[in-house]
Amino acid sequence: MKEPRALSSSRAPVGSGSARRPAFIALGRHEAILLCVVVLEVMFFTLAGRNFLTPDNLANLVRHSVEIGMLALVMLPVILTGGIDLSVGSLLGLCAVVFGKLWRDAGLPWELAAADTLVLGALAGGFNATLIAGLRLPPLIVTLGTYSLFRGLAEALTRGTDAFTGFPESFLFLGMGRWGGLPVQAWIFTGVAIVVAILVHRTTWGRSWRAIGFSPEGARHAGLPVAWRTASAYVLVGVVAALASLTWSARLGTAKADAGTGYELAAITAVVLGGTSIFGGVGSVAGTLLGVVAIAVLTNGLGRVPATLSLSGELSGLFTGVVLILALAGGAVARWWTELRAWRRNRG
């Protein structure tokens, strides 16, 4: 039987070339390069752009990137297990709509509606998890199905046009307010980042995600409850997608069915740019964060340079795509080189 993996194409020789070297050194190199890219970006936009390095603009940058950032952070565990979740953007939309419906039509106080939304996120994540980990269906196809299903339900609930507005001040504070001088969602994002970092890097639970991605059979023989651990990654995605739907609605002051369209690809891009192997087993929270920051700075910065002001959306997308290809190709070439050296050493 096939392992639960996004694509069961032959595994890239992730570990084979650098087998003699601890994995974190190779990772450190990738993160260092990415850090340089971010620093270069910041320097460039500070010099070429207008008002780039101002508190207001930085707050703006944070506000616009936390949702994708949070999704990228929880996409990491899923990709570490060798899976993928294409349904996060749609789930964000569904959660936003359900939150709006609970608050406006069912008359719940927003705190209770928000809590219910988080539960819904967990249930939706659990649905993905049941199919992927329980029935061992391919994650790519399952989440492609739920991608359509969740967005479709959101559209059906709103009859395609309905939008929820007029949320109370205390809720809008989540998306528009400041706390301790920083945008509120920066604190939420930091909380999610810390939880995911501890989970992935400091707990046996999180380490087992890596083990599953590296070798599902091996993890099973090592006595890990592979199905449960895999499932937990998808449930985590569901909960955080619901959380992101709340900050999204609070930031824009409206909840609609098209919330979060395209976020799944942005999140996956950030994770892969951060050096995570799409085949699973290799990746870090630091790399993912750098990937998120690199894209966020690029998008925001291009809107601050007079020459690219009107084209910032297109250009940042284009650069993201090209940089992603270059990062992948660069990684492949580096791997070849390492393998070539190892081969020469073995021969000589």
Binding site: M1, L137, L149, L265, L318, L324, I325, L328
Partner: protein, 328 residues
Amino acid sequence: MNPGRMMRTGTPPESKAGAATRLSREWTVAGVLALLLAVMAFTAPGFFEPQPLLSRLTAAAPRLVVTCGIVLVMLCRQIDISVGSLFAVCAVTTGLMVSAHVPLPLAALASVLLGALGGAVNGLLVAGLRLPSIVVTLATMVTWREMLRLGQQGVFVNLPDGVQWFGLPMVRGQWVVCGAALAVLSGLALGLRFLSVGRFVYAVGSDAEAARLAGLHPRFTTFATFVVLGGLTGMAAVLNLVQSPQVDPASGRLLELEAIAAAVVGGVAVSGWRGSLWGVLAGFLLLTCISPALTYLGVKPYWDKAIQGGIILLAVIVDGFNRRKGNR
């Protein structure tokens, strides 16, 4: 029966029972489709009025062409999510050429070549550098789409007279479009089954290493499937272009998902080497007919997407249970 069947049953990890369920899978989808059509015949005969039906099928024909291509790539255990963007790039380029008075056949050829070129980029990165296809095509998807937005700024391309329906009367033009899509499907289906290059695709998807040891060239085969998919995407763009007086630069969004969905419902496995184009045709027709059929039955159109998602999930769940039974 034929070499295809032998090859599939002969591969170790699947048992004979598995082969039986695979065979029946295509018939299951065809059965569900027949059932749907039968229900429609009794409850809403208006569904079968020839002209609206032909128009619906014509509108879906470009998608069928892309689906055929994506099946090839999926049989090789790869995936391509950049076809939607490539489709838009080809459509706009062809539209600009036609409006600059380039004859339509020449522009169509250019569209196919441009598509093949885009496919070759994916193929080189995937087969040449051995990069994961999902990430490569994610990157090219974003890149093509943003290049197009940058170049075109969302401006529609107006087509000159005489391009719509290839300059034929509408009904005949619709038949030409549908016929072209069916010709592609039949050609590829027969080629996959009876030509040795077609068998290479299954062999590579089944076990690339074994295929290599048997003297095939798995990397070249993979590369070739991406190029063919690209070319077909270019062709689909032309088939779509002739249907309207304008080209929308935002066209082709979600095309990749619709194509993959049709392939999966038609019984193609993401794990490669399993599935036939006839099953895919049934799956494609099912997905194409379901929304208008439900509209006739009084289901509101905003349920469309949810139902499409439900069908994909149902198909893959049924597959999962079948596979489990087969393995026991």
